[in-house]
Symmetry: C2
Subunit: 212 residues, 2 copies
DNA sequence: AGTCCTCTGTGACAAAGTCACATACATTCC
DNA sequence: GGAATGTATGTGACTTTGTCACAGAGGACT
């Protein structure tokens, strides 16, 4: 977002309250009415759905420069928050109360565009999730997931539990464990408690292909 | 949407072009850049995803008074349309080109709010779809689906093929056929070619319950 | 009657999810 | 060091869901 408008910049720094959220803390719970919009400066939040069977699925994550658009969407349409949000990496954020959000939306085009583009982006994210879970096999999605995670750190070393992977992909821990073991037997990765290592990137990449 | 603002009303009727879409016609294809926003006056459009295996899943439908918010989202963020849209019931619509949409968004608060609430609504719809396919069993979802369809016409008579149901639910035709046959054996419905009849609403309602 | 075309049924199999456990690893506390 | 505790992973049996390759069945039209 551009803070080109001086008036807006003033108002922004006047209204925004800085906060910190500790890792693991819940941010929003399903059914909450959102009174504030949080703009993330640093850290990561994970937005997810919780099924009655206890399974989870990650809808998307929010990083620096982004803000929880579900919150914004709730504020604008005054509907309850339809998911859960939790802090994954220590968050610094600027908090703006809902009345101010609305006011800015009326007054500042730049702010308006920022909100619109955030919502659009999330809508796209969420539709991608649908495509994944509705049409793609778990082993291929898992391969994709590992490659993506591995490319963060360029050592292809990933520190995560099977349960956490399952929660991201919206499947169960047993399924993840089984497939990881398969991958290991095929020499693509090596797994140990709470972490794993990709040993054959090209081999793993082939596993992501949908046409068998 | 309120047309309270006279200036807006004038501009609206000046810019909006009336169109009709025949049943079965495609409206948007995946990957398209949207140049227009369509406001549905009458009729229904179905927005869906298509998997490489040929399966489909319905994201949501658009009825009178609504408009394809994906289109709006594409216009605002200039990204390609991420799904398919097809006309299910003969549509009358008002078409507005994207430049006008943007202009109105800047000028008219009512229009802005309308767009925001549409996007929020769709985001909610799509998240509900995720919840369904990620966590609920197909038989329960199918029972829900039938009850909902049946309550349109209050005779609980539904004219639809198994394939169409499968496309709505994001599963395959065989699965739907199997479960429908189960329901029939349990005396809940009776099926015939291209249509079915609910014979035991309470029995079918019990099938929707997630706790076994 | 026969000829299309679409819709539905079926059986065998593969993939995914569930359940009830058994182990294995890591940390902390004697 | 060793025991206890808590979390993470492994496993087998089973159900549900998805896939494939067909076989029929029901209408519509000549």
């Amino acid at each position: 977002m551009q803070l080109a408008d001086n008036r807006f910049r003033d108002s922004f720094f006047q209204q925004a309250i800085s906060t910190r959220v500790a890792i693991g803390s819940p941010i929003c719970d399903q059914g909450m009415q959102c009174q504030h919009l949080a703009l993330v400066i640093s850290g990561v939040a994970r937005i997810y759905k919780l099924g009655e069977n206890g399974r989870e699925i990650t809808l998307y994550r929010i990083g620096p420069g982004e803000s929880c658009i579900l919150t914004a969407s709730c504020i604008v349409s005054a509907s309850p928050f339809p998911a859960f949000a939790i802090c994954e990496e220590k968050i610094e954020a600027l908090v703006i109360d809902s009345a101010t959000v609305k006011q800015w939306t009326d007054e500042y085009p730049a702010w308006r565009n920022y909100l619109f583009s955030l919502i659009s982006g999330r809508l796209g994210d969420v539709i991608s999730v649908i495509e994944e879970i509705a049409f793609r096999r778990v082993d291929r999605r898992l391969a994709d997931y590992l490659l993506q995670r591995g490319s963060d750190d360029n050592q292809q070393h990933i520190k995560i539990t099977h349960q956490a992977i399952a929660s991201d992909l919206g499947t169960s821990r047993e399924v993840v464990s089984r497939i990881l073991k398969d991958f290991e037997h095929q020499g693509l990765i090596s797994v140990s408690r709470g972490q794993l290592q990709i040993t054959d990137i090209t081999g793993l990449s082939n596993k992501t292909l949908d046409h068998y």
